[in-house]
């Protein structure tokens, strides 16, 4: 059981440079105990800003520490959305596909949802306009807040590490 992968393997995982057989082995193998810390450290090096990453939140998005007791959701382009326990989508840009014409850009005829029954909500980062999430819901559905991590329990009870702060990051 590997307690830990070498740093370069984790870098390759983050940078999408692993071959399929390496990924497959990784899937089949025991889970390494320090993956979170290793990936977090690599991601911290990859981003262009200094706020300490508390957790990777979603593709391109992070919860970062602005102070000891303030965490925000931030895109890797630098755009900051909201407090970590709020729904970042409320601060995003949205495009709704709810016509046949708009569906046909993505799907062939007859192979897309009926616009009266389902719409696609595309959420973009206002900073870099990356498409961060697409949700397919009935028209009229509230915006879904998908993930509220319990960061304190995770750090304090699950991995027994201090939560990163701007002070500890620069230390």
């Amino acid at each position: 059981m590997p307690e830990s992968y070498p740093r370069e393997i984790i870098e390759d995982l983050v940078d999408d440079n692993l071959e399929w057989n390496e990924l497959h082995n990784m899937m089949s193998d025991f889970k390494d105990a320090d993956r979170f810390e290793q990936v977090r450290d690599v991601l911290q090096e990859r981003v262009d800003w200094d706020d300490p990453i508390v957790i990777p939140y979603a593709d391109h998005l992070y919860v970062v520490a602005k102070s000891e007791d303030r965490w925000v959701i931030k895109c890797d382009c630098g755009h900051e959305f909201c407090e970590h326990d709020k729904n970042w989508k409320h601060d995003a840009l949205i495009n709704v596909r709810d016509t046949e014409e708009e569906y046909l850009e993505i799907y062939p005829e007859d192979m897309h949802p009926h616009p009266d029954y389902m719409e696609l909500r595309e959420y973009f980062c206002p900073g870099c306009r990356t498409l961060l999430e697409v949700t397919n819901v009935m028209p009229g559905y509230p915006i879904i807040h998908e993930f509220e991590p319990d960061i304190e329990t995770f750090y304090e009870d699950w991995i027994d590490k201090p939560i990163p702060t701007p002070e500890t990051q620069s230390a």
Partner: protein
């Protein structure tokens, strides 16, 4: 008892040398049970009644926080090698039973697709070890055993050595009635020490329409034959009453007979394996193992969650359509209405690594065959977890003991009404668990386990089903299990697997066309990868495929479709798009025969529905429509039917997909060339009409890198122009809802149904859109009547006498727990989550469990 102490004839039985009437070990056991019963003792351990033993187990589990009170795994800790040997031996024998017995089966469903599985259970019905295959049914069999215990089968009809039980009742322990389970009790020294169980999917249940999952019935009475945890034999001999009963309740009696032999073969192999294990290790070690393995599984689940996920709350919602308005051949006029499934999915991962899964807000059940029971939902989620959280040998009911389910009574997810139909419960079930993949993937992402992230699964359809008089002039039914082969959701690190498997059978397969043609009068005209079925994304969803079938040498033959049409049930993840939805394509009264005779071209595919290619190659009455469900309709020789199997959803922004991969997608038949530009902003040019690649049908294409770069820049600008701040959109949308504009009745009816089911959902909906407290969507008289009819129908429970902990079926969470919290409202704090004290013990730390 050691092996030396066995009566000399015992080994004969195990070596299959006994005469027909012998089974000496079983007969000896039967005598011991008889003596115990005469002495007023039960068949449980140490003379307990089985129900008493079950209640005792529940109590010890509750009091100690460990399965059956096993706070220590003494066998595992003190003799780990022996523990592993014993468990591996059991596991191996279960897999062996499946691999051997499936060769007994006649239907390609079992033999080709492997729609079969086995489990070994404790006397109380908790699974200890399982085979491979359709392992969703491990937990459903567990429920069936618990049903028998809770309904005093020990007293009547009795549970004795050599007894054979069968169940396919969804309200007892099943997903839908076409999965039939055989259960046999295993005894040692007059005590019930285990159950062996096997399930397979049968080809016809004798429903109102042919096939295993008919779609035109409104209630249970059209679902086909239900066998409610019935004793069908003793002394390992099937009763004549059963032999003369069930064959007339199906259109395919020979297949069902062979299926039964398959299950019996496997169960007897498992029984022999258990006897051998006891001979080798002794009964006390076997009992110890059976308890420890489940406690080990429970700990392993939690340990794995704590290693790979994040505590907190995860939410999602999925939908699927079941459109019946105007369908022909419905069994009740009031079933002629459209239904949409609404599945709000909320997962709490608690501090101790345990799960709470809630479907609060799910809408009402309907007069359609897609309703679910708790056994279906729990089994379904369990099989999904085995493919993500616990992809290892230690899969058993330990995982179940780490999950609490809140399935609102009266919703489609827990009808608690035996009048409801369930023939294709999977339609809602598969769709409803789609968000769970994403909950797990979000956790894996945060922990850095990128190799485990998966955007979801396919909607496992279309189901080609039907029947009539076949090519051998016999009454027959078909259920093509090509649906066991669908595209999978995109992974974070790789595209989804194309035409690979179905979530309910990890070892799924499309089956050989030639084998299907032997049992179905539906020759293949073509079988192809279907473009644009996988969702677009940085990683694409795995593509589905399609088969073009015709009909030959039949009379009074019916066919129908079953799948999603107006809705995509599976979301994309992190900017990926949902998989494509389905459609129906048939041709009747065709000129196919003449085309064959004249050597003319005929349709072999429908790769691009917009191309007109199909219509250009056949004359006839062509039906092409974007729905996914049709009720049985007549087909004749040379009619045509498209069987389209779905793809998986995508992951990541499609603009981040490497342009050269999009060209490969075109050449592999996964993407139509025009969608390179539309969906991926990739410019490709056709360089040759002749395709050089194996799967390519669209010619040879090459990438224009410069134009692609330019287009992608333009597209980013377009995004800015097309998109608006969510705050602006919210205001417009809020007014639209408040003023009850635009939304169609089917959608409004679904919201109303959820609101009438759930005070919490109502409050959430009102608060989110800032609506007045008395807000209600206006509905037509018909829609009002439909809701009223179903809400007033009330409950008709199947479980009359559940033990204490089994009330989880009926309520919210185990009854020693607080209700699963509802947390969709914005105001809540994540600290409102119930703490680990609510369920079982605090997690053990510092010691790696065998969880990987």
């Amino acid at each position: 008892m050691s092996s030396e102490q066995h009566p000399p004839d015992a080994s004969d039985e195990d070596d299959h040398e006994q005469t027909e009437e012998s089974f000496p070990r079983m007969q000896a056991e039967k005598q011991k049970v008889k003596t115990k019963l005469e002495n007023g003792e039960g068949i449980g351990w140490d003379g307990q009644s089985l129900r008493g033993q079950f209640e005792d187990l529940e109590e010890r589990t509750e009091q100690t926080g460990h399965y059956a009170g096993f706070e220590k795994l003494s066998l595992k800790d003190e003799n780990p090698i022996e523990y592993e040997q014993m468990f591996a031996q059991l596991r191996g024998e279960l897999v062996n039973a499946r691999e051997t017995s499936k060769e007994v089966a006649a239907t390609p469903i079992v033999e080709q697709e492997g729609e079969l599985c086995y489990g070994l259970f404790t006397p109380e019905g908790d699974s200890i070890a399982i085979s491979t295959g359709i392992i969703v049914h491990i937990h459903t069999m567990s429920e069936a055993i618990k049903y028998m215990i809770n309904h005093d089968y020990e007293e009547s009809p009795g549970i004795e050595p050599g007894d054979i039980f069968v169940n396919n009742d969804t309200h007892v322990g099943n997903v839908h009635p076409c999965d039939i389970a055989t259960l046999i009790p295993i005894f040692h020294e007059g005590e019930l020490i285990a159950w062996a169980g096997g399930v397979n999917h049968v080809i016809d249940t004798g429903a109102v329409g042919p096939g295993s999952m008919n779609v035109s019935q409104a209630s249970r009475f059209g679902d086909g034959a239900y066998y409610t945890a019935r004793k069908i034999g003793e002394d390992l001999e099937i009763y004549n009453s059963w032999k003369n009963d069930f064959p007339d309740k199906t259109r395919t009696p020979d297949f069902l007979k062979l299926d039964e032999r398959t299950r019996m073969t496997g169960c007897l192999m498992i029984r022999n394996a258990v006897n051998a294990l006891i001979d080798d290790y002794g009964i006390e070690k076997f009992k110890q193992l059976s308890r420890e393995a489940i406690e080990d599984g429970r700990r392993g689940f939690r340990s794995r969650i704590q290693k790979t996920m994040l505590p907190g709350t995860y939410r999602g919602a999925s939908f699927v359509d079941a459109l019946y308005e105007g369908q022909d051949n419905l069994s009740r006029a009031y079933a002629s209405e459209n239904h949409l499934m609404h599945a709000p999915s909320e997962l709490h991962v608690r501090e101790d690594g345990s799960f709470q899964v809630s479907f609060e807000g799910a809408n009402k059940w309907g007069w359609h065959p897609y309703n679910c029971t708790p056994a279906a939902i729990q089994g379904g989620i369990w099989v999904m977890l085995t493919q993500t959280v616990i992809p290892n040998k230690l899969v058993n009911d330990g995982a179940y003991y780490s999950c609490d389910f809140h399935l609102p009574e009266g919703s489609w997810a827990n009808t608690q009404n035996t009048e409801t139909a369930h023939a294709y419960a999977w339609h809602f079930l598969v769709s409803a668990w789609a968000p769970l993949w994403q909950h797990l993937s979000r956790g894996y992402f945060s922990r850095g386990f990128r190799e485990e992230i998966n955007s979801g699964n396919a909607n496992t359809s279309n189901w080609l089903q039907g029947g009539g008089i076949d090519q051998f002039d016999k009454l027959h039914a078909v259920n093509s299990f090509e649906a066991a082969c669908e595209g999978t959701g995109a992974r974070y690190v790789e595209d989804g697997e194309p035409h690979a498997a179905a979530i309910w059978n990890p070892e799924g397969d499309s089956g050989d066309a030639e084998v299907w043609e032997m049992t179905e009068p539906l020759p293949f005209l073509g079988r192809n990868v279907k473009p644009n079925t996988g969702g677009a994304g940085r990683r694409t969803g795995g593509a589905g495929f399609e088969s073009m079938r015709t009909v030959k040498d039949v009379s009074r033959w019916l066919l129908y479709e079953m799948g999603n049409g107006y809705m995509s049930s599976d979301s994309g993840l992190f900017g990926g798009y949902p998989a494509a939805s389905g459609y129906i394509l048939n041709a009747q009264d065709t000129d196919l025969k003449e085309r064959f005779e004249n050597g003319e071209d005929f349709p072999q595919s429908d790769l691009d529905p917009e191309s007109g290619d199909f219509e250009s190659k056949i004359d006839g009455d062509i039906t092409r429509r974007p729905e996914g469900i049709s009720t049985p309709k007549e087909f004749d020789d040379y009619d045509m039917y498209l069987n389209y199997l779905r793809g998986g959803s995508g992951l990541g922004d499609p603009m981040e997909r490497e342009p050269k991969k999009v060209v490969e997608d075109i050449h592999d038949g996964y993407v139509l060339p025009r969608h390179a530009k539309d969906a991926y902003a990739v410019v490709v040019n056709k360089v040759d009409d002749e395709a050089k690649h194996n799967s390519a049908v669209q010619g040879e294409w090459e990438l224009d890198e410069e134009a692609t770069e330019e287009l992608r820049q333009e597209r980013m600008q377009e995004r800015k122009e097309r998109a608006q701040p969510v705050s602006e959109w919210y205001e417009d949308e809020r007014l639209r809802i408040r003023d009850d504009e635009d939304l169609i009745e089917d959608v409004k009816k679904t919201y109303e149904s959820s609101m009438r089911m759930s005070k919490q959902f109502t409050e959430f909906y009102h608060e989110f859109w800032d609506l007045p407290d008395d807000f209600r969507f206006s509905l037509s008289e018909d829609a009002e009547k439909s809701l009223e009819n179903r809400f007033k129908t009330g409950k008709k429970r199947k479980w009359k006498n559940p033990t204490k902990s089994h009330e989880t079926w009926l309520g919210v969470g185990r009854d020693d727990e607080p209700e699963v919290p509802y947390t969709w409202n914005n105001e809540r704090s994540i600290q409102d989550l119930s703490g680990p004290d609510a369920s079982f013990e605090t997690p053990s730390r510092g010691k790696a469990a065998d969880d990987d």
